[in-house]
Symmetry: none
Subunit: 205 residues, 4 copies
Amino acid sequence: MPRPIDPALRRARRLQIIDAGLTAFAEHGYAGATTAEICRIAGIGSGTFFHHFPTKNSLLVAILELGVEETIAFFTARDPQRPPRQVLSDYVEHAVGDLADPRAAGFITVVGGLTAHPEIAAALQADEDTTRSRLRDVVAAAQQQGQVRDDLPADRLAVWIMLLVDGFASRVTTGGFDVRTEAPLLQEQVGALLDGPRSTPTTPC
Amino acid sequence: MPRPIDPALRRARRLQIIDAGLTAFAEHGYAGATTAEICRIAGIGSGTFFHHFPTKNSLLVAILELGVEETIAFFTARDPQRPPRQVLSDYVEHAVGDLADPRAAGFITVVGGLTAHPEIAAALQADEDTTRSRLRDVVAAAQQQGQVRDDLPADRLAVWIMLLVDGFASRVTTGGFDVRTEAPLLQEQVGALLDGPRSTPTTPC
Amino acid sequence: MPRPIDPALRRARRLQIIDAGLTAFAEHGYAGATTAEICRIAGIGSGTFFHHFPTKNSLLVAILELGVEETIAFFTARDPQRPPRQVLSDYVEHAVGDLADPRAAGFITVVGGLTAHPEIAAALQADEDTTRSRLRDVVAAAQQQGQVRDDLPADRLAVWIMLLVDGFASRVTTGGFDVRTEAPLLQEQVGALLDGPRSTPTTPC
Amino acid sequence: MPRPIDPALRRARRLQIIDAGLTAFAEHGYAGATTAEICRIAGIGSGTFFHHFPTKNSLLVAILELGVEETIAFFTARDPQRPPRQVLSDYVEHAVGDLADPRAAGFITVVGGLTAHPEIAAALQADEDTTRSRLRDVVAAAQQQGQVRDDLPADRLAVWIMLLVDGFASRVTTGGFDVRTEAPLLQEQVGALLDGPRSTPTTPC
DNA sequence: AATGAATGAGGATTCATTCAT
DNA sequence: AATGAATGAATCCTCATTCAT
């Protein structure tokens, strides 16, 4: 007697578990977070968890895939007319917005280096590749318009933007670092990165 | 007639275990690294491990304390005559040197956010505080000599230097990021941070 | 749609484990009994054990609490009209009945002196206090009715009844001591305790 | 270059370890007491322990054998002229004297029921048999002199004397039981045991 | 779909014992 | 004799996962 399943409900339940997983992974790391705690946070039984995710592994992958989707959505929603350099600034602002949730910051730093499970490594790589290629395209466009230094390849600049954002995230988890207060300095650093070193001091005065 | 115990041997054995721990933690994270694997890497029996470290926890703490000692040693060894701004550059170079060992980079990113175990959190905080206060002193000295912008407090600049180094570390673990190749760009970013935003082009000549 | 959990099944499983624990503890002592053996006796997996009892410790406590409940049940079920002195005799008979199970006798003697774990010590004390206070009340009532010597306080006599029962239990575990054969002698000793020393030999004949 | 070994020193060291073992066994039981703690109490290294006792097992056996020796010494030292009934009373007083050391009481109750290790079981049995046979002989002699009831076999009375002493010991470990205060009551109970039930009041005068 | 009881492989840690010095 | 470092089997307990209801 199959109940008429409401896909919306199913999706909501998945998101509920994903949210709990984000919390638990951010606090204890992947291996340190137990499915029992995730269930407790989500307010569900263990059976329900494995109804929606076949393994703990798959939950982490789902979280990462959600991140990829979000990244794609961000770049897809850009106004094509907006100057690429502005888009890069927007991206940083967008990332800072995510990091306002300390769980997101903790998740990024703690999960970042996992290479043990192949599936997770693949998902992490996919996350990385997506952001990197999208950023690279925008950087390249900005270079073509002369808005960004061109002594470095676009891909390398993209990586360094991600480096700055990752460093920023790693600081969020420690005390005394206010995301909103520090955001302008992040933009300043990204600006310095994209502008390149100060024009030679040879400027005669 | 107690045998004269050789403290050097004991210390060597501890370092051997610490080294194995660094490897395992960097690869699998704290919770994901098993004492069995650490023992296997170190080539010892499980009993020997717990003969030297009462808990897995204490091994992590010992690694972090070693990091603190190294940081202190670095700053203590500085020539007092060296310009502070140069010392900051030296520090970054020193940090890059550590990160040449990919285990160190992995360790930093993976262990960074652990707050579950109070002892670990305390050791992490001590590590953080040591580096931060030493850097702050040097930054402050540099500010007094006019070598570094003074529109931001020294402590905040110190944190941002650490931010850049942490971001750098987080990139080491991902492929296609060569420490030596990227080091100059890190110095460039630190330089931009300490110089502050490009002086307004309105500066009349 | 949560399945209506059957508390009776859960309770039955708990009792099954408690029974196995009684066997193992009686035979090897608390520390000497392994959870693995308890599981084997109970015919369950180790996971099931810890599903019902968080620690081996808690199993022992549960056994002791069951003993407390039984003691309370015994005294509660007494006919208020029954002469207190008879109730004391009934209690001794009841205790002897328990000791017919050699596991009970072994359990009492082996577990009696544990003071290392605070929780166990507390549970043992609760067991002790319950029996002692109930016995004391009955002894006091018997004293008021002139059925028991009153040159000693009721509490002290209660303790001595327990002493006799404990001594009896300690003999059950050694060979050549048949509970049923020896029970009358126990009653005789309790009688001597409650009557006090033989009336002075000054009785002239 | 064998050092001239002083047998007295060796014996003293053994006794030192035996004393530490008594303490540890009484507090934690046999399995619960670790050789490490025994060494700590004795103030020696683990190597020294196993120099004097090949196994933890053998230490317990040694303690029990010491008890046997002491029992034999007690009965051997009796004045043959002393009335047997008095000797029984002396024995009880002697036992009470031992129990003034709470470790002895704890040791007796906690170790009493071990049957797992054959060697220990044998040593316990030897302890039991020694005391029992010696007591039986004295009881039998007292019966022949009409000082003790003879409606029960001497052996059974001997067991019951031990039962009373064991019960007494089991109470020492619990609080509020002063050995010296309670000793007279123990003698009273032994007296009642040896006298038998109060002669029927029908005894015509 | 939802639940939680059951499972057993695996994990951190303990411990009696050995052995080179 | 004395020591303590080293060992690995054994122990308590955890945890992802399965499954009947």
